[in-house]
């Protein structure tokens, strides 16, 4: 196999030939990240949770309210995941 060139002009890419598994060094934090990501997908994939008209929130049937309100929740949750990953990376002196 031809050895691929290390990306030239990027010293940052060189020093980490073997990354430690973040899972091994930070099991709790990694689990939290995984749970957050899976929960985000599951709570919209499992339609019976929200495929109902009642309770109405304001004038909105529950189904429609849920889907609209979910978007900002995803945004915040993904930002939390991103922040957690950054913290992990900075603890290890690595990068996100």
């Amino acid at each position: 196999m031809a050895q691929p060139p290390e990306s030239p002009g990027s010293p940052a890419a060189v020093p980490v030939p073997e990354r430690r598994s973040p899972l091994a060094t930070h099991p709790v934090m990694s689990l939290l990240i995984a749970v957050l990501l899976i929960a985000m997908i599951a709570c919209t994939l499992i339609v019976p949770i929200y495929a109902r008209i009642t309770p109405r929130i304001g004038d909105f049937p529950f189904f429609y309210f849920y889907l609209l309100a979910y978007m900002p929740v995803v945004a915040i949750a993904l930002w939390v995941v991103y922040a957690l990953q950054r913290r992990l990376a900075s603890q290890d002196g690595g990068r996100s």
């Binding site: 196999m1 990306s7 890419a13 495929a51 049937p61 979910y70 991103y82």
Partner: protein, 552 residues
């Protein structure tokens, strides 16, 4: 040119001229020394930060087709149209997981297209070709649908010569298109990135105004939902079944919860492997740019949810409903709704937003398809020694051809056909999921197992979609099909078959000692975050496999 509102028309034309100017000026934006390189023309120098990427990907993900077709589906069928909201919710966490890996490995190896990565990972030109062909096939009807979006706006505006000849009637569309083609040719990916700022501003303005204003005209949200619920539960005189569903049902077939969930999941998986989205991603400067954007882009999703509700507003407004029924085209629901609800100058702003919302993704899609053709077909199979200059020239011409093809689709074929082709495009692109997304994590799959899987998935998906029918349409009627008595999204069944074949054949091929092919990527490159863009390689595709070719 009958019944054209002068104010609306003037505003649309003025905004169109504005973005045309921006499109051409964009070639000077972040100007590189040598524009005749695919990294420059096709990826705008790989230097976009969080802010620009947000606009670029936002402009890329939410297209004119979204603004027209999602509410049209809601208008026609009810709750099932909201799968679009559910799938954008799912798409971000999914993309958050795999997209940074694709960015990193592509950055290190200078990959321009997803097929470049597949070639490098599996050392297989054939597998890369299958990904490239799928990408181009899936993108073409998508570009065509952007034109359908512009057409919808033009129709409602009353623009178009009074002629039965389609080519004369569609003159305004041609003009818009030629202008788009020329500035994409000149400025490459910089053009849509710059225009996306205008597009998003217009769209945010008209959506927010519409969401607060229209309900006050229609007697409030409770009235809108009430009318919609009654309407979709009523029995259609032609089919003897309910017109639609207001909430996904728990039945086995029809607009069920399972159909809703599989449509959403399949579309979410497909979304970020579309070539044009990957093009937008690879133009980002840093790995963190991608991650940040995954949490910033859902802001756009909120807008999509509100846009979907326009479908119910159109149902609740008797004038709009009468207009749409008379025209016999649900795609006109949103344009008619706006025309009836707003003063003509604001209609102009909204229509311009939709039309410009078509130009941005159409440009990116044609660039992505052109990159695929150039890198993975032309250079790979016909001219391995193509210089960067020649590659860029070929890509520029290919982008024109793609647009011409799309124009042909939009004008010649019936619109339902192009919409169904786009749905089929989703089914097709999903078949590259195993080789692309799974390939980012594991080299377990054998390259010759992935090809039969892909072929079977493509065939099953296409045949199943062809066989779907409704009382009014004999073929290509739906993207869902009944499997074992349950309504499911065809893309999901096809990709399951695809994976099953790859999983079964891999150990067989390995036992037969069929060559695995070289893998030029290394473990740590999938998490790498090089600060500088890689120095463009001289020629050839897939850097590693041609590593012997000395850099210029």
């Amino acid at each position: 040119m009958s019944h054209v509102n002068t104010t609306t028309f003037t505003i649309v034309v003025a905004l169109f001229v504005l973005v045309t100017g921006i499109g051409f000026a964009a070639s000077r934006w972040r100007r590189a020394q040598d524009m005749m390189h695919l990294d420059e023309w096709g990826l705008a120098g790989r230097g976009f930060g969080t802010f620009i990427t947000w606009f670029l990907l936002g402009g890329d993900l939410y297209t004119a087709y979204t603004f027209i077709a999602v509410p049209a589906l809601v208008y026609g069928s009810g709750s099932i149209g909201f799968y679009a909201v559910s799938y954008t919710i799912m798409a971000y966490p999914i993309a958050f997981i795999f997209l940074p890996r694709l960015w990193s490995v592509s950055r290190v190896h200078n990959y321009v297209t997803p097929a470049d990565f597949i070639r490098g990972r599996y050392g297989s030109r054939g597998l890369a070709l299958s990904a490239a062909v799928t990408g181009i096939l899936a993108t073409l009807p998508y570009v065509a649908l952007q034109l359908v979006g512009i057409q919808a706006v033009l129709t409602v505006m009353g623009v178009g010569a009074d002629s039965t000849n389609t080519y004369v009637k569609d003159t305004p569309l041609f003009i818009a298109f030629v202008v788009l083609a020329v500035y994409t040719y000149v400025s490459g990916l910089r053009a849509p990135a710059a225009i996306a700022f205008v597009k998003d501003t217009l769209i945010y303005i008209f959506v927010i105004v519409a969401v607060f204003y229209i309900p006050t005209r229609l007697g409030g949200w409770s009235h809108i939902f009430g009318v919609a619920q009654t309407h979709f539960n009523s029995i259609s005189p032609t089919t003897k079944k309910p017109v639609g569903t207001f909430i996904p049902t728990t039945k086995k077939t029809g607009s069920t919860q399972l159909d809703f969930a599989t449509l959403a999941l399949g579309s979410a998986l497909a979304l970020f492997i579309y070539p044009h989205i990957i093009t937008g991603t690879l133009a980002a400067k840093r790995r963190s740019t991608i991650k940040r954007n995954m949490s910033l882009l859902p802001a756009y999703g909120v807008v999509l949810g509100l846009i979907a509700l326009f479908g119910y507003m159109a149902v609740a407004d008797p004038v709009t409903k009468a207009n749409v029924t008379k025209a016999g085209n649900p795609q006109l629901a949103v344009p008619y709704l706006f025309q009836h609800m707003f003063p003509s100058w604001f209609v102009g702003v909204a229509f311009a937003g939709i039309a410009i919302g078509a130009l941005v993704p159409a440009a990116i899609m044609s660039i992505a398809a052109a990159n695929l053709f150039t890198r993975n077909i032309f250079t790979e199979f016909f001219k391995p020694d193509a210089t960067p200059h020649l590659q860029t020239r070929v890509a520029q011409w290919a982008s024109l051809v793609v647009k011409l093809g799309a124009l042909y689709f939009a004008v010649e074929l019936p619109h339902t056909f192009s919409i169904n082709l786009q749905l089929l495009g989703g089914v097709w692109i999903l078949q590259t999921l195993p080789m692309l997304v799974f390939g980012l994590y594991t080299r377990w799959f054998h390259r010759w197992a992935l090809i039969p899987g892909w072929l079977a998935g493509m065939a099953l998906g296409t045949i199943a979609a062809y066989k779907t029918s409704t009382p009014t349409t004999s073929h290509w009627a739906s993207s869902s099909d009944i499997v074992f008595g349950f309504t499911l999204y065809i893309g999901i069944t096809a990709v399951i078959l695809n994976l099953a074949i790859a999983v079964v054949l891999t150990p067989v091929l390995r036992a037969l000692k069929v060559p695995e092919g070289p893998d030029e990527t290394l473990q740590h490159q999938y998490t790498a975050d090089p600060e500088e863009a890689p120095v463009p390689a001289a020629a050839g595709v897939g850097v590693g496999s041609t590593a012997t070719a000395s850099p210029d």
